[in-house]
């Protein structure tokens, strides 16, 4: 039995509404939308709407949802509207609650809010915004919760509130004790006060400290905490047959042999897929091999064909940044270099999947999802039932990286369950993962620049082509695409941060590809920064100046300029950056700023047997207040290694019209041998509030590696993944 502090009973409606509404306010926009050039007033207006729609955090203020639960063993259970996918959010939230409620962090437990038990974020978890967006609302909620408990404690003791003594979730007065749990179990109607004054930062016990992850022991012991580990009684297993060729359609299927296989429960034919259901996973896999399918394959897509489609000059054009005059093509002082990045897979280790049961017009779905609220809507729409009849139970995620913003498999599992009349567990095979990913789109970039007579850069232009990132994604309502005219996800990191340049511009060319491309950790940031920062480095070399002074001269003092300068200078200083190379080893530097957090890397590269080996990375990040500096460092390390993997190893291609490769190994990803043996992360606090952490450090890594290779070999590598031969 647990005491639910505020939702079981009706508190005073006025106060309660205020309480929830205050908690429900988001504080940051996902994208730096202010940097748009949009002369069209309609576009400007819609952009305002888009900003609201994609606000990072939106809790309901009208439904009887709950945030905190006080358990019988006197623990405070936070039902988190944000999911835990490795980024350490649960730990950060626990630190915030412990500090504002003045209890030991051991008293705090965090769980993923289900749609039936708590406030889920109607948008989702992503954009590196969980801590940044929840920091203030959660502090207010926790402080208010503490105040509510004190009011009730005073009532139960029959004394004035200021006479209470409290220690770690237990009140004391006149030799008697009252725990939070005892109080909560007595209260029938909560009084909700105005939000109390928040703790001064100098009194923080947990915020700003390197607290160990609260979920790590469960993870080290192998506890069953992921979507893949969930079950339901009397569950059957499904596997789904989908086309392997891009754009193929199901023509016909003969399931007669498959139906005779051991353990088969049912085979379901839909318009574009076939579900094979059996008593065990292995039986389902065996049976699917016996299904004879014929496909209509209208076209054999090739990598070359995709490259032709996706070129600067093709697709929808949008100028997203413009200052000064454009560079003239016939100006022989203009330097032009082209860059590219390949199609990339998410390759998160936990496959996508779900366990679902649809019965008597109600659906329950358990899964790893970044978008619990959106998953709920999609299941409700597909089954044509009310939203209230769909309960989505989110679990820990075995990696997110943007892949779990798309949860069509939840819908498919629910449909199969409805057809079979039993709970169904369905998850992707690894081949299915690689061929049905919502990939990081390939990109093409043309960089142009011009030095003035003193060797200082006077103009810089970034023209880039990308597939869908935000466009056609669940996070951006379709009617807005045409009006915005820009893919705001592909735009991440695409605008020129060197605001001191007299002329600079950024121009996007957008093309929708014949397969799904979407959100991938840091969106366009990695590829855009690779192009811009490699080019700037090349221009520094041409000008004969060192790459730090060259950048400092053009960063300017507006907007984030001073904060970008700080991380750049600090990285160079700490790493003892030098342009000198001995022919085998050398350094590279690059910087970017993303969602308000500037980050610079200095990498030390060694060329070993004609292979690029990243030996050391010095990372300087300004993410404002680091709620948990150790986990901020962990995010930097992870972002660096994932970005290194994308920069030196990974590439999806098309083979005979099929997306390929379809297995780890063949899809070459960094292993422990490829990771730098030294990663030095230094944090700079340029502002007092927490800012995004999980994606910004990915920005400069590719360019920093390329810049080091240039210093060692004299060769400018322009295509990801970078290879020496």
């Amino acid at each position: 039995m647990t005491a639910r502090n505020k939702n079981d009973k009706k508190p005073k409606s006025k106060s309660r509404r205020k309480f929830l509404v205050r908690g429900g306010l988001g504080t940051l926009g996902v994208f730096a939308l202010g940097t748009y050039i949009l002369r069209n007033p309609l576009r400007r207006k819609v952009l305002g709407i888009a900003e609201t729609l994609i606000a990072p955090y939106s809790g309901s203020g009208t439904k009887p949802n709950l945030w905190f639960e006080i358990t019988i063993d006197n623990k405070i259970l936070l039902h988190s509207p944000k999911v835990e996918m490795g980024q350490g959010t649960f730990t950060g939230l626990a630190q915030i609650v412990a500090d504002e409620m003045n209890v030991d962090i051991e008293m705090i437990e965090v769980t993923t809010a289900a749609t039936s038990t708590g406030i889920v974020d109607s948008i989702g978890t992503g954009g590196s915004l969980s801590i940044a967006s929840m920091y203030t609302p959660l502090r207010e909620l926790a402080a208010t919760m503490g105040e509510m408990l004190s009011i009730e404690a005073a009532k139960q003791f029959g004394i004035a509130k200021n006479k209470l003594q409290i220690n770690n979730g237990t009140y004391f007065y006149g030799g008697k004790e009252l725990t939070y749990a005892q109080i909560a179990s007595q209260v029938t109607e909560w009084e909700i006060p105005d939000t109390p004054t928040l703790k001064s930062s100098k009194n923080f016990k947990y915020i700003g400290k390197p607290v160990k992850r609260i979920d790590q022991i469960a993870k080290i012991k192998g506890d069953p905490i992921y979507g893949m580990d969930t079950t339901m009684p009397d569950m059957a297993y499904a596997t789904i047959i989908r086309p392997e060729h891009v754009g193929a359609k199901l023509r016909s299927a003969d399931t007669s042999d498959a139906e005779k296989m051991a353990g088969v429960v049912k085979i379901i034919k839909r318009e574009d897929w076939i579900g094979v259901v059996a008593e065990s996973y292995v039986e389902a896999i065996m049976a699917r091999k016996k299904v004879k399918v014929e496909w209509d394959i209208p076209k054999i897509w090739t990598e070359q064909g995709i490259r032709e489609m996706l070129k600067v000059g093709n697709g929808d054009k949008m100028i997203t940044q413009k200052k000064g005059s454009a560079l003239e093509d016939d100006d022989d002082k203009v330097v032009t270099i082209e860059f590219s990045s390949p199609l990339g897979a998410h390759a998160q280790i936990e496959p996508n999947g779900a366990v679902a049961y649809v019965n008597e017009g109600k659906a329950t779905v358990k899964l790893s999802t970044q978008v619990i609220g959106i998953t709920q809507k999609q299941v409700a729409e597909a089954l044509n039932i009310d939203l209230d009849n769909v309960n989505i139970i989110g679990t820990y995620l075995g990696g997110g990286f943007g892949r779990r913003l798309n949860t069509s498999h939840a819908v498919e599992t629910a449909i199969i369950s409805r057809e079979v009349g039993r709970p169904i567990k369905y998850f992707f095979t690894r081949q299915e993962e690689f061929q049905n990913d919502t990939f990081r789109p390939p990109t093409h970039h043309i960089m142009k620049g011009k030095l003035n007579d003193e060797g200082i850069l006077e103009a810089l232009e970034h023209h880039y082509a990308s597939g869908d990132v935000a466009i056609n994604s669940v996070l951006l309502p379709a009617p807005l695409h045409g009006v915005l005219g820009t893919d705001i996800g592909a735009m991440r990191g695409a605008n020129i941060m060197y605001k001191g340049l007299p002329s600079h511009r950024s121009v996007q060319w957008h093309t929708t590809l014949p397969f799904a491309t979407s959100w991938w950790r840091s969106l366009g940031l990695l590829a855009n920064t690779f192009a811009i920062e490699s080019f700037v480095d090349e221009m520094a070399i041409k000008s004969g100046s060192n790459p730090i002074d060259f950048r400092l001269a053009i960063l300017g003092d507006k907007d984030s300029g001073p904060r970008i300068k700080t991380v750049l200078k600090e990285a160079a200083r700490i790493a003892k950056y030098t342009d000198k190379s001995d022919g085998n080893r050398g350094m590279g530097i690059a910087v970017s700023t993303d969602t308000g957090s500037p980050c610079a890397h200095v990498v030390e590269v060694a060329i070993i047997n004609n292979r690029i080996s990243v030996e050391k990375v010095t990372c300087v990040l300004d993410c404002g207040l680091a709620v948990n500096p150790d986990q901020v460092r962990a995010q930097c390390e992870g972002s660096i290694i994932m970005g290194l993997s994308a920069s030196l190893h990974e590439k999806m291609t098309l083979k005979n019209g099929k997306l390929s490769p379809t297995i780890y190994g063949a899809y070459d990803m960094a292993l422990i041998k490829d990771a730098p043996k030294e990663i030095n992360v230094h944090l700079v606090q340029g502002v007092d509030e927490p800012l995004p952490v999980g994606e910004p450090p990915m920005g400069p890594i590719g360019a920093a590696i390329g810049n080091a290779v240039r210093r060692i070999t004299g060769k400018r590598l322009t295509d990801l993944p970078m290879r020496l031969s």
Partner: protein, 154 residues
Amino acid sequence: MKTSFTINGEVKSIDVDGKTPLLWAIRDDLDLKGTKFGCGKAACGACTIHVDGKQVRSCSFPVKYAEGKNITTIEGLSKGGQLHAVQQAWAEMVVPQCGYCQPGFIMATAALLNQIPKPTDQDIDDNILNVCRCGTYYRMRKAIHRAAEIYASK
């Protein structure tokens, strides 16, 4: 087909097709969910367990070969409530992020230390071939060296 083996110190018998990958017998028949499914083709290592003390990728190991063998999964690694040296080192270094691949890495590391109690960086590079998508490799290497120290002190 009936197959019997010792798993985490207990003798178990299961009745499944002998070709069934041991992973699914462990996860679905014995309900031990710590051993993870990642790829099904022995390419990622998320399903790493020990069979007679050696690391095995259980997604590609047929049940019939487990007959009479001594199997350890992540659930059996810690003894009497005490974390294994590798798990202790993992906790000290705060290695896990999403955590999904971690049991596989921990099992692979424990097997490595059985073979090479004080591995060099080269030993680690040559033997730890699992895949982690969060990029915890940097801390993992430190944790492997730390685990060797804890191991040696016992």
